[in-house]
């Protein structure tokens, strides 16, 4: 191989690409024009939106208070807007505008607007009326009887006898109509007899309750009957009358409470509190009437908030009790409820209709925002203002009144933006009214903001910029590196085939590797330059745009000067871009080589682009980052593309990160380079394949293909069939998850381990052994060769028995030491691990579930058709590696994946060297058995023997670690065994080195068996 040829090809390809208009467009025109064009477009759009005036109609101008003045001659006073220029963007029409001097023709446009606006105003009034009706329907009535017994501080009774709670109210309690009734019957009689009386039944209930209390203390059937009678009557009253719930305040409640507080303050012993002395408010409701239950709930809510305020929290009493009665409402009441519900439904439907009518009206009218000032707003505001300035003001007399309505359509930007500025203006105007009131009442202007928290933003300009760059740059870098590789790759590989020059190139003296390298470097050059050009173009455009916007609105909270990342960070971008671009270039080249035409090439490369997009979005998530403290970071750092993206994100976000962060650069760079080399190797492989280079355009016929597969069977599966077998196993495992969890669902804890093992065995058979057998029987002609069904050399068998002993010691020690670097076990898996250690089970059961079944099934699949198929590549080590990666992958848990892959290498070596599946199964079963046995050893056995303590150490939690002598012996044994295995068949071994390891290991074994 000479680099001269590679350079020649590279030069030609680059020149060729540069002569191609499409490449130039992608490379230069797009990045250099796209971003500035986008920037200009954004500015233009802003201007467009800003300059167009929006129509606002204000109805009821004469209802506004005189001061402060909201409106000016030609609209809302500019002073009220956040930005004075907002006023110019609104065209405000009022009723006054329609009045013209005599003789002049009325402005039809304004007339039209006003007609439409009045129409909408009427609808709005209708809507408000319906709203009020609905609220009334939802209303519940509760009566407090004996308000005069409440402590003075609890005077929530308004002048008109209505209850005013200054405490927590919510939307629910607002629906509660609270009435008060003095207990003296005389007062009750003075009430207006024409009104439907809620108080009268309430008082009757109060009487009944006191009678009930008496009846309860008495004994005998007569008393019980009486209680029942009373309950019946109360229930009737609550279910069918005007009152839905009643709270009764007992006589002397205030005095009792005061006494109690005093006593408690003197002698803070709650033990001698006489329960009879505790004053209680009694609440009465009917459990069978929904209205009554609702009212009771609201009452309780109010009572709870009163308690919190009035009763010291250290006082151990709850001053309310409740009496519930169960009496079904009579038919008339039920019908009434039903009628009310129906009525509410009708109103809601009408309101929805009205809303949609209003929406249509607004859209058709050409009015973007309609402001309706309700009648009497100004008077109300003035009245309150006046009340404030009076010296002895009565706060309770404050009135509530309707505010203006701003009608708009949030789905339409044309309406949304002016709505926002009108709303802001009204808010500012409101604040002005408020501050005037405060001044009049001689209260400080800060009254509405008693806390007035100030947030201080300590982000420096560089940090804001860094946070922006760290999001944008890695994402853009990845996307652009792929896009940049995409088109040149299609052109230099598939395009060459399409234009019929591929064969010309193949018969030149350059080797295939030189050709691929030349093309690869070309693609990479374009990938890198596209990424760099896009990045810089976007960076400069962004910076320029921000500076323009900052000039226009200096106090805009934003990105400051948008400082660029420093030189060191830019250098990192460069360093990380190279391996990433190499990976994408090699992948695109390999895929494009497979394609017959440019069009096909684009189809093949689109998935690559989609996957990369997905990865990019994943990396943008704020919680996904490289953090030296988390184990997941190490995984991210070795994942293709993700590692690079996250490292870059971290570097851009925090340039001052310590060395503990930059340590991630090592795995990221090493793995990225490995990935790109692998991809490049694949591309070269593709290029050397005749069926890829000379692929004929043919109709793909599935039936034909299946028939071909079944007819032209070969002794062992093909590479692709092996891959398919693995994918099938993965899919089956994925599909089996649901059934597994279903099988375990609802199984009692005493059976769970048993069921778990059954499920595991079934899963092994169904998802691993079956697909392998199916593949082997259906798609190959030699079952024996595919599954290596031969008798092995006895020496091999011996080694397969001995090697697990040594490797088990090493692997379990390694697992203990590296476990902290891996994410913890998911709960389902710890359950499996726990069941393995369950000493109550007979020993054969876990052995069958965890050793024998997987040993047989997994070997059948992974050292059977999968390894045989991969071995067709002709490269033993690659076949073994691929099969062990596949073997590792089905173990799901990262730690297990790791060591299963390592063991897979040994197992693969066994299979290839012995040509038999038997040693693999023996090794696998023994290894797993040791794992099971180890967890069932009684620690006592070890602590009792000096010799065993020399070999094995018992940890505090009862698990074991091996001591150094054991480790050294195991390492020596494993090394000899593996060397012998690797060299098996190369030369005839003079003696079996497997034997010397035996004594040492058998001494280490007894503790394990226990």
């Amino acid at each position: 191989m000479s680099f001269r040829n590679t350079r020649l090809i590279f030069n030609r390809e680059v020149r060729d690409q540069l002569r191609d208009r499409r490449t130039l467009f992608m490379m230069l025109i797009l990045p250099l024009l796209l971003y500035p064009a986008m920037g200009i477009g954004m500015v233009q759009m802003r201007l467009l939106f800003n300059e167009q005036q929006r129509t606002v109609v204000i109805l009821g101008e004469d209802q506004l208070p005189d001061t402060p003045q909201l409106l000016q001659k030609d609209g809302i006073a500019p002073a009220w807007f956040n930005s004075r220029s907002d006023a110019q963007k609104l065209r405000v029409f009022r009723e006054k505008d329609a009045i013209v001097a005599d003789g002049e023709p009325p402005d039809e446009e304004i007339q039209n607007y006003l007609v439409q606006a009045r129409l909408m105003q009427n609808k709005l009034l209708l809507r408000a009326a319906q709203r009020a009706q609905l609220d009334q329907l939802d209303e519940r009535t509760a009566v407090i009887v004996g308000v005069e017994h409440l402590p003075d501080a609890w005077s929530f009774v308004g002048e008109n006898g209505e209850f005013k709670s200054p405490f927590e109210t919510n939307d629910e309690t607002k629906k509660l109509r609270l009435l008060t009734a003095p207990e003296s019957p005389a007062a009750a009689k003075t009430a207006d007899p024409t009104q439907p009386q809620a108080e009268v039944p309430a008082l009757r209930i109060a009487e009944l309750i006191s009678e009930r209390r008496l009846a309860l203390t008495a004994s005998g059937d007569a008393a019980a009957d009486r209680v029942k009678e009373i309950d019946d009557e109360i229930g009737q009253l609550l279910a069918n009358g005007q009152t839905h719930a009643v709270a009764i305040i007992p006589v002397g409640f205030a005095d009792n409470l005061r006494d109690l507080k005093k006593r408690f303050a003197e002698n803070a012993d709650a033990g001698d509190l006489d329960p009879g002395q505790v004053p209680r408010i009694t609440m009465v409701y009917n459990k069978l009437s929904s209205k009554s239950v609702g009212a009771f709930g609201m009452l309780q809510h109010i009572a709870a908030s009163l308690e919190r305020v009035l009763i010291p929290s250290n006082l151990p009493l709850k001053p309310n009790a409740h009496v519930e009665v169960e009496v079904a409402p009579n038919e008339a009441a039920l019908a009434e409820v039903e009628r009310e519900l129906e009525h509410a439904r009708t109103i809601r439907r009408d309101m929805r209709l009205l809303d949609s009518e209003l929406g249509d009206l607004l859209n058709e009218s050409g009015i973007e925002v309609l402001v309706v000032i309700p009648e009497g707003l100004g008077e109300h505001v003035e009245e309150v203002n006046r009340m404030i300035s009076e010296p002895d003001r009565n706060r309770a007399a404050f009135i509530e009144y309707e505010g203006p309505i701003i009608l708009h359509n949030a789905a339409n930007e044309k309406s949304l933006i002016p709505h926002q500025s009108v709303k802001n203006a009204l808010d500012n105007w409101e604040k002005a009214i408020l501050s005037r009131r405060l001044a009049k009442a001689e209260l400080p202007a800060s009254l509405p903001n008693p806390i007035n928290a100030t947030s201080v933003n300590v982000a420096k300009e560089e940090e804001i910029a860094a946070s922006l760059w760290s999001k944008v740059f890695p994402a853009l870098l990845i996307i652009m590196a792929v896009t940049g590789a995409f088109y040149p790759a299609v052109d230099v590989a598939a395009g060459e085939k399409e234009r019929g020059t591929m064969e010309t190139l193949l018969i030149c003296p350059a080797t295939r590797t030189e050709i691929v390298l030349g093309k690869f470097f070309t693609v990479m050059l374009f990938s890198v330059s596209t990424a760099v050009l896009n990045l810089s173009s976007m960076g400069f455009t962004g910076k320029y745009m921000v500076s323009i916007m900052t000039d226009a609105a200096p106090n805009m909270p934003g990105f400051g000067a948008l400082t660029f990342p420093g030189g060191a960070q830019l250098a990192w971008i460069g360093v990380l871009l190279i391996p990433m671009a190499a990976l994408f270039s090699a992948l695109s080249l390999a895929l494009a080589t497979f394609a017959r035409s440019s069009k096909e090439g684009q189809y093949y490369l689109t998935p690559l682009l989609m996957i990369t997009m997905g990865i990019t979005v994943f990396c943008l998530a704020p919680s996904v980052e490289l953090d030296p403290g988390t184990q997941a970071s190490w995984f991210y750092s070795v994942m293709p593309v993700v590692g690079v993206a996250l490292l870059l994100k971290g570097i851009l976000l925090n340039p001052a990160a310590g060395p503990e962060f930059y340590v991630f650069a090592i795995p990221v760079l090493i793995t990225s380079i490995c990935y790109s080399l692998l991809a490049l190797w694949w591309a070269i492989e593709q290029f050397a394949r005749e069926d890829v280079l000379f692929r004929e355009s043919e109709r793909f016929d599935l039936r034909l293909w299946v028939r071909h597969m079944l007819r032209d069977k070969e002794p062992t599966p093909s590479f692709a069939e092996a891959g398919f077998c693995f994918v099938m196993i993965m899919f089956l495992q994925f599909g089996a998850m649901k059934f597994m969890s279903q099988a375990l669902h609802g199984v009692g804890p005493e059976h769970i381990t048993m069921r778990l093992m059954q499920v595991l065995m079934v899963q092994q058979l169904v998802t691993i052994a079956c697909p392998a057998l199916f593949m082997g029987l259906l798609l190959t002609s030699s079952f024996r060769r595919t599954f290596r069904a031969y008798l092995p050399d006895w020496k091999m068998l011996g080694l397969a028995v001995l090697l697990p002993l040594a490797l088990h010691v090493l692997v379990s020690t390694m697992v203990e030491n590296i476990a902290p670097y891996f994410p913890g076990l998911p709960p389902e898996f710890s359950q499996v691990a726990a069941s393995m250690q369950d000493r109550n089970l007979p020993i054969w059961l876990p052995l069958l579930a965890f050793a024998v079944t997987p040993g047989l099934c997994e070997e059948l699949a992974f050292r059977g058709p999968i390894l045989s198929g991969f071995n067709r590549s002709g490269r033993m080590w690659i076949a073994i590696m691929l099969s062990s990666i596949a073997f590792g992958a089905i173990h799901m848990v990262p730690l297990q994946v790791f060591y299963a892959t390592l063991l897979g290498l040994v197992l693969g070596l066994f299979a290839v060297k012995s040509g038999s599946l038997v040693p693999c199964m023996v090794f696998h079963i023994l290894f797993n058995s040791l794992q099971v046995l180890r967890s069932r050893v009684d620690p006592q056995v070890i602590t009792d023997s000096d010799f065993l303590r020399f070999l094995v150490d018992v940890n505090r939690d009862g698990s074991f670690s091996y001591q150094w002598p054991t480790l050294i012996l195991a390492a020596l044994g494993a090394l000899t065994g593996l060397l012998w295995l690797a060299n098996y068949g190369k030369q005839q071994p003079s003696m079996s080195p497997g034997i010397p390891t035996e004594p040492t290991l058998t001494t280490a074994k007894p503790p394990v068996i226990g």
Partner: protein
């Protein structure tokens, strides 16, 4: 110069399973000789020549070019052959000069010598007027000229032409055949495939009739005419193919019958 021995090549085919494109093909070609491969479409001519040019690997047998095995020393083989076929196009975005220069450089020719050599070839083939023309703008004849220039720029001892005249008009084809004849006169060893009788009769010193991957007959035009006592080359060609197909069909038909009994 070219030594082919029991060459075999088989492909996977979805419909027919394993298909032999070349079956037991052997021949030898000497320098200063034009060897014609004559056969209908799909006979295996292209496959054979692609193997000789190392683009495909044989599944059996061997082929030596100037003593180098195409399987083990493909780079040395490629250094010694000039190959031209309907599938060896020229680059659209390269001028004639650049194209020939590029391949000359890939063959490792010294820069000064290369320039002289290209100049001479351009003279010989009267290509100076298309010197700076892009490939995409050229006529088919000119493209063919560039291809020839490309295949002889490194002065290879062996030249392989796979249906070089297909798609050319009579004038251009005639010029091309003349150019090939003059190459023979320079002592090149030339293998040439076609399905046009006239070209074979005019140009080839020896021919091999190839059909369904097998060589049916081989020898000089006279030898073949005498051997099969058929003075008309075209008739001879049809006879050979017809006879082979008949034999083949009978065996194919009888085979299942014997298997059934």
């Amino acid at each position: 110069m070219i030594h082919v021995e029991q060459l075999r090549k088989s492909f996977e085919d979805l419909k027919r399973g394993e298909v032999a494109a070349l079956d037991d093909v052997s021949f030898d070609i000497q320098p200063g000789e034009i060897f014609g491969l004559l056969g209908p479409n799909g006979a295996g001519k292209t496959t054979c020549l692609r193997i000789l040019s190392t683009v495909l690997k044989p599944t059996g047998g061997r082929a030596l070019i100037d003593g180098y095995d195409v399987r083990t020393h493909p780079e040395d083989v490629r250094q010694r052959i000039g190959f031209m076929s309907g599938n060896t196009g020229i680059y659209d975005r390269m001028t004639a000069w650049e194209m020939v220069e590029y391949f000359g450089r890939l063959y490792g020719i010294e820069e000064k010598e290369l320039q002289q050599r290209i100049d001479r070839i351009f003279n010989d083939l009267q290509m100076h007027e298309i010197r700076d023309m892009l490939g995409s703008k050229m006529s088919t004849g000119n493209k063919q000229k560039v291809s020839i220039a490309r295949s002889i720029v490194h002065d290879p001892p062996v030249l392989i032409f796979d249906e070089p005249t297909s798609g050319l008009d009579v004038l251009v084809a005639r010029k091309l055949l003349n150019a090939i004849a003059s190459l023979r006169d320079q002592g090149k060893c030339i293998i040439f495939s076609t399905h046009i009788m006239r070209e074979v009769e005019k140009l080839c010193d020896r021919i091999a009739v190839i059909h369904k991957g097998r060589i049916l007959a081989m020898g000089s035009v006279q030898e073949l005419e005498e051997k099969y006592s058929e003075p008309d080359m075209e008739e001879l060609f049809f006879d050979l193919i017809q006879r082979y197909d008949d034999e083949h069909e009978t065996t194919e038909n009888t085979e299942p019958a014997t298997a059934g009994t």
